[in-house]
C-alpha cells in the first residue's frame, strides 16, 4: 500500500472523504458510522472509499493522529516565546482549553477514539507525548525552584487528566453549554498550579 500518487482531483476527493467521515464519527461514534454512510453522504460508490483508504480503521486512525498533532501544535505555538517554565505550563493549559473550545469536533473525535480498544493505544501514545512535553517544563521548574519536587511524569499526568476531564465535562456533547464558562481556563490553571489548599496554609 505505498502512498498512492494522487491527481489534484484525487487529493480533493480524499479530503472530502475525511471531512465527511470526521463529522459522522463525531456525531454517531465509530462503530455506528458505516462505510456506506460516508459514501452516501458524498453520493459516491463504496469503491471511492477503498480507493483512498485501505480500511475504515486506517481512516479513523489517520483522523485521530491529525487531531492529536494539531493539539500539540497549538500548545507549542502558545509556548515557544515564553521562557519561564511555570508560565509555559500555564500557557499550555490555556492553549489546550482554547483548542478544544474552538474545535469541539476534535474533542469528540479523541473521546470517541478512547472508547474503542482498537484506538486506545493511539490515544495513550498521544497522551504520553503530551505528558512528556509537560514533564520537561516541570523538570525545568523544579531545577529553577519554582516547582515543588516530585515525580514530574506523574504531575504531568495529573494536569492532563484534570484538563481532559474539564473539557469533557464543560464542553461535552451538549453543544450549547460550550460557550459559557469563559473563566474555565483561569480556574483550571489555578487547580493545576495551586491545588485546592489555601495558599498561606503551607
Amino acid at each position: 500500500m505505498a502512498e498512492r500518487r494522487l491527481t489534484k482531483r484525487g487529493t480533493r476527493r480524499r479530503e472530502q472523504v475525511m471531512e465527511a467521515a470526521q463529522r459522522l464519527f463525531a456525531d454517531q461514534g465509530y462503530h455506528r458510522t458505516t462505510v456506506g454512510d460516508v459514501c452516501d453522504t458524498l453520493g459516491v460508490g463504496k469503491g471511492v472509499f477503498y480507493w483512498y483508504f485501505p480500511s475504515k480503521e486506517e481512516l479513523f486512525s489517520e483522523l485521530l493522529q491529525d487531531s492529536l498533532l494539531q493539539l500539540r501544535r497549538a500548545q507549542h505555538a502558545a509556548i515557544e516565546k515564553v521562557d519561564d517554565p511555570v508560565a509555559r505550563l500555564e500557557e499550555g493549559i490555556r492553549a489546550s482549553i482554547a483548542f478544544f473550545r474552538e474545535t469541539p469536533g476534535l474533542l469528540t473525535l479523541i473521546r470517541t477514539a478512547a472508547r474503542y480498544e482498537e484506538f486506545a493505544s493511539f490515544v495513550d501514545k498521544g497522551h504520553q507525548i503530551i505528558a512528556d512535553d509537560t514533564a520537561t517544563h516541570l523538570k525545568e521548574g523544579m531545577a529553577a525552584g519554582s516547582i515543588r519536587h516530585g515525580d514530574p511524569e506523574l504531575m504531568a499526568h495529573g494536569i492532563l487528566g484534570a484538563i481532559f476531564h474539564f473539557v469533557e465535562i464543560y464542553f461535552g456533547t451538549d453543544v450549547e453549554a460550550t460557550s459559557d464558562r469563559p473563566q474555565l481556563a483561569d480556574e483550571a490553571v489555578a487547580f493545576c498550579l495551586r491545588g485546592i489548599l489555601q495558599g498561606d496554609k503551607h
Copy 2:
C-alpha cells in the same frame, strides 16, 4: 418483567453468570464478548442467560452500577469517622486509589463502559455523584478557611479527572505493573491538594 423469584440454585447461577461476564467483559470488551461466550464459559445453554437477564446490555449495566456503588461505598467507609474536610478529601483519594489497586477488574469495567455510548451516561452519572460528594467537603473546607475559594464543583472534577487518569495510567491494562508505585497515593494527594507550585512561593 417483574423480578423473577429465584431459588437458592437460581441465585447462585445468576451470580455465576455475572462473574463470568465480568471477567469476559474486562478481558475482551463489551462488543467482543458475545452472549454465547458467557454461556459457553459456564457450559450452559443460551436460554440460561435470558432467564436471568433481559439483555446483554442490561447485565452490563447492572455490573457497572454495582462497581460504581462499591467505589462510593469504599470512599464513604474511609471517611465516615474523619472530621476535618481536608483530611476527608485526602482519605477519599487514598480510598479510591486503593480500591482500584485492589480490584483492577472494576477499573477495567468502568473504563470499558466509558467506551460505549450506551453506557457513557451511567458513567457520567456515577462521576457526577462522586463529584457531588467531593464538592460537599470542599465547601466545608472553604467555609472553615482551609481550602481556597473557587468553584467547588470544578475543583471536584479536577480531582476526579486526575485520580481516574492516574489509575488508568498506572494500573492500566498491564496487570503486572499494578504492584509498583506504592507511593502513588501520596503523590496523588499532593497533586490534588497542593498542585505543582512550590508552597512558599505563594
Copy 3:
C-alpha cells in the same frame, strides 16, 4: 395422552388456563402469545400448562373447536322449532350474526385461527360442517319451490362467505364499532336471500 382424570381443583385449573389463553390469543394472536404469557397471567409455573395440555397447538385447537361448536349450537337452537326452510335460513343467519355480536372474542379466535396454516384445516372443516347444514335447508327449499334451483353447496358457501365478511368488517377489531349497525342482520338477510337486484325486474 389418554384423558387425564382430574380432581375438582384440577378441572378448575384447566378452565382457568383456557380462559386466560383465549383472552390472550384474541388480543395478541397465536404466535405472539407465548406459553409463558399464559402462565404468567395466572401466576403459575410452566409445568401447569403442560400438565393439562400436551402442547400450545393442542390447546388452541381445542379452543377453536369449542367456538365452532358453540356457533353451530346457537344456529341449531334458533332453528329447531322453525319449519319453513327459508325461515330456517333466515333465522340461521340472524343467529350467527347475533352470536358474533355477543361474543366477539370467539370471532377473533376464529379469525386468528384462519390466519395460521396449522389451524386452517380446522376452520375449513368447521366451515364445511356449517355449509352442509345450510345446504340441507337449501335443498329442502328447492324441493318445495321456494328457493331457486342451483348448486346448494355453492349457495351455502356464498351465504357463509358473505356473513363472515360482514361480521369481520362490522364487528372487527374496533371494539367500539360493535354496538352500532343494529339493522345489520336485516340487511344481511336481504342480501343473502334476494341478492342485489330489484325484485320486480326479474
Copy 4:
C-alpha cells in the same frame, strides 16, 4: 433509504428475488419462508436480499400490494367499456374469478397475507378499495332503478365476501381442483345478483 439506482443487471436480480420469494411464500407461508431460503434458491448470499429490500416484511408487502393492484386492474379492464351498472358488476365478478383462476399464486399470497396481523391492514385496505369501486356501481344502479335500495357499502362487502370465499373454497390450496367448476362464475353471479330465492316469489 432513498430508492437505489439500479443497473439493468440489478433490476433483473430484484425481479428474481421477488419471483423466488413469491413462490416460496405461496408454498410455505410467510414465517416459514426464511430470507435464507430465498437466497439459497437463487444461489446468492444474504447480502443480495438486503441490497434490494430493506426487510423481509417490506418485500412481502410490496408483493402483496402488487397483487391487489393487479386484481383491481383486471377488474377495471373488464368494465371500462360497459355502461350498465348491473352489467359492470357482473363483469367485475367474472373478472375477479377469472383472475384468481388464472393466477392462483396471487390468491395464495393474499390469503397468506390475511393470515398475519402485520399485513392484515394492507389486505383490509385493499378490500376497502375494491368495495368502494363496487359501491359506486351499486349506487348508480339504485339511481337507475335496476338495483334494489339498500346500503351500497354493505352490499359491496357481501359480494366481496362471497366471491373471496368461493375462490378460496374452489381454487384453494389444492391446485388440481382448480380446473373444474367452469360454471363457477355463472353461479357466483347468480348468487350475488339474485340471492337464493325463487325470482317470482318477490
